[in-house]
């Protein structure tokens, strides 16, 4: 069974530039999550989707971050414009809807903003 796929694995951009991250969850997983992980910290939830609906986006900085999950499968997280403080690892995870505590994480995208 294929795991959660994320791309790119690494991204370096200059501040004020846009950037997008892509996630393909495990087949059959209704729930998809985007997390932010700063160096030396645990993951922090940005947004949670059930199918194509964002059910919890309270931690997403909506002035510069946006996300979508068209057709309830793949998802894209975008930052526009990026700031130096956005340098971090962006993790995508997925789960079955009735086992949301058991989340399967992708390898993450390491973003460096210069």
């Amino acid at each position: 069974e294929a795991g959660v796929v994320q791309s790119p694995r690494y991204k370096i951009i200059e501040k004020k530039q846009p950037v997008a991250f892509w996630c393909n969850p495990i087949s059959g997983h209704n729930t998809l999550y985007w997390y932010l992980q700063n160096l030396g910290q645990g993951p922090e939830l940005l947004i949670r989707y059930e199918n194509e609906e964002a059910v919890d986006d309270s931690q997403l900085p909506k002035d510069r971050f946006s996300a979508e999950r068209l057709k309830g499968v793949d998802s894209t997280l975008k930052i526009q414009p990026a700031e130096l403080g956005d340098s971090a690892v962006y993790l995508c995870a997925s789960s079955l809807r009735d086992r949301e505590y058991e989340q399967y994480f992708g390898p993450g995208t390491r973003l460096t903003v210069t």
């Binding site: 645990g42 505590y101 989340q103 994480f105 390898p107």
Partner: protein
């Protein structure tokens, strides 16, 4: 709101020695507790969970954790570690209900097992 504190950022230990990774949580309501592990160059994966019932839970690779409500702790233990246990371990909490899937993670503990 709930929070999780992992008391040690790094734990070095020799192979076959016992280890304990400490985790304390704060919450005003009942919680579900988890340990996730991240092996080098891999994504986080669920190691073990406490949802209800017995307060002592075990993983398939010899780790165990005990839910202690009075001390608000969920420490992870293994009586004899292997080199392959080298990884970063994250304690996490969920409060259930509509927030069932909303995990709050601790800062992580890097376990390094030396030969």
């Amino acid at each position: 709101a709930q929070s999780v504190t992992q008391l040690d950022s790094q734990v070095p230990v020799f192979e076959e020695a016992p280890v304990e990774l400490r985790c304390n949580y704060s919450s005003s309501v009942s919680v579900y507790l988890f340990w996730y592990v991240q092996y080098p160059n891999q994504g986080l994966q669920l190691l073990l969970k406490y949802l209800s019932g017995s307060t002592l839970v075990e993983s398939i690779n010899g780790f165990e954790a005990e839910f202690n409500k009075s001390q608000t702790s969920f420490h992870l233990r293994k009586p004899s570690v292997h080199i392959s246990d080298t990884a970063e371990y994250f304690c996490a909490v969920s409060v259930g209900g509509t927030s069932y899937g909303k995990l709050t993670f601790g800062q992580g503990t890097i376990l390094t097992v030396h030969p």
